[in-house]
Symmetry: C2
Subunit: 249 residues, 2 copies
């Protein structure tokens, strides 16, 4: 049985409370947040507090607050030897407490959308092997996908995610705009987008590259560039074409 | 009952033969290809020929051969008033036959991978409303997603597909490379990639843009650029960041 306390009631915190509530061998010891109003949904069922000095020891404190509030909050916790972990993908392992860790669910969360934790990759880090074991047990209670990820690995992961998530979404936005301009329903492309993403998880994406760039189909490339109106979209087309060709030389 | 003939036995043709074989109210009249050996899998069950002059009239001829062989093949067909359609996404409606059309399944096909046609968008075009009706019936017999797409719309679709499929795959390849360089298993990102793609089909992608670019988080952007080794990846990061910021101003 792991006894945990959750500090925070925002987006990630509320999802964690919900999923740990139904997890086996997990007990939520306490829920802390600064504003009384945010504790309302939890007061009946849980031991809650807005007073940081009223926190009692637990196997682990999970801090799920905004990145820029994390170190400040850890500094205020007055329990010697308390294991304290944060849930942020962009911050390194903290060194403020005696026993530090990271419990990072790698997914985008919206407060009112249901989340299936079983498929969310849990990225874990701790100072010691013993503390790592606690996080591992915790993660396995809610997810099938558990990875030990060091601070430096998490830094690379964060950068990769910008390419495969933020930038990919922008390419979808451009594709959507091009369709809209020409009265093509964007949904015609959904199946292809899904298939492309599925394929990238079955093969090395480099090996399944298709399209005019890798075929060096200059005629089609010229034609496509002439269809694009915005100079920056022409630049993106040209640069990504060059990069595909350079990568596959 | 629609009576159709298929010209070609390659990638797309073989998938079409398989799916029409089991479709209701469809009969495959004839299969044509130039090389006798390619007819072997079909000789027992179908009327096959390598002689273009042995083709008999049908409700529709579906030409599924390489793009650069299409016009040549149509010119050789000697049946007056025969309705002839091609399956190419990049070619306009032909004007060689009396009755021309396009029957374009928008998906990537591999010859030995099973394909579920029901979710493949079928993009249709024909000279006349009457011929369009034939294609519509044909498409509905195998797919739930049928769209009238003109030649000029198909041109935009093809350009969009380069952004949301070919370029997206290249960003996956970059993400994969960055992970590999830093000993991070790429699979940690699969759930995020899937979610990003799913989200783009539920909302306008522009509206769900996240990441350091749209937040104008200069500190993270600077940090990411310093992590990238290849100059062209730095260029891609900078250009896509600019484009996200320009689009959302």
């Amino acid at each position: 049985m792991i006894n945990l306390s959750i500090l925070g009631t925002g987006n990630v915190a509320s999802h964690l409370i919900k999923v740990f509530r139904n997890a086996e061998n997990i007990k939520i010891n306490q829920i802390y947040t600064r504003r009384e109003a945010n504790l309302l949904p939890y007061k009946k069922e849980y031991n809650t507090t807005t007073n940081i000095d009223a926190l009692t020891p637990a196997d682990v404190f999970i801090i799920a607050v905004k990145d820029d509030a994390i170190t400040n909050l850890i500094e205020k916790i007055n329990i010697p030897n308390q294991f304290i972990v944060h849930t942020s993908g962009s911050l390194p392992l903290q060194t403020i407490a005696n026993r530090n860790g990271v419990f990072y669910p790698l997914q985008t969360f919206s407060k009112h959308t249901e989340v299936d934790f079983t498929s969310i990759p849990m990225c874990l880090e701790a100072d010691t092997q013993a503390d790592y074991k606690i996080l591992e047990e915790l993660a396995h209670a809610i997810s099938d996908k558990v990875f030990p990820i060091s601070s430096s690995q998490r830094k690379s992961l964060h950068l990769s995610a910008v390419f495969v998530c933020n930038f990919v979404n922008h390419l979808y936005a451009i594709g959507n705009e091009l369709c809209a301009e020409n009265n093509v329903p964007f949904e015609v492309l959904y199946a292809l987008m899904e298939e492309t993403t599925k394929k990238a998880s079955l093969n090395a994406p480099k090996k399944v590259q298709t399209g005019p760039a890798i075929r060096h189909d200059e005629e089609t490339i010229r034609q496509h560039l002439s269809q694009l109106n915005k100079p920056i979209y022409k630049e993106i087309y040209t640069l990504l074409t060059q990069s595909i060709q350079a990568t596959n030389e």
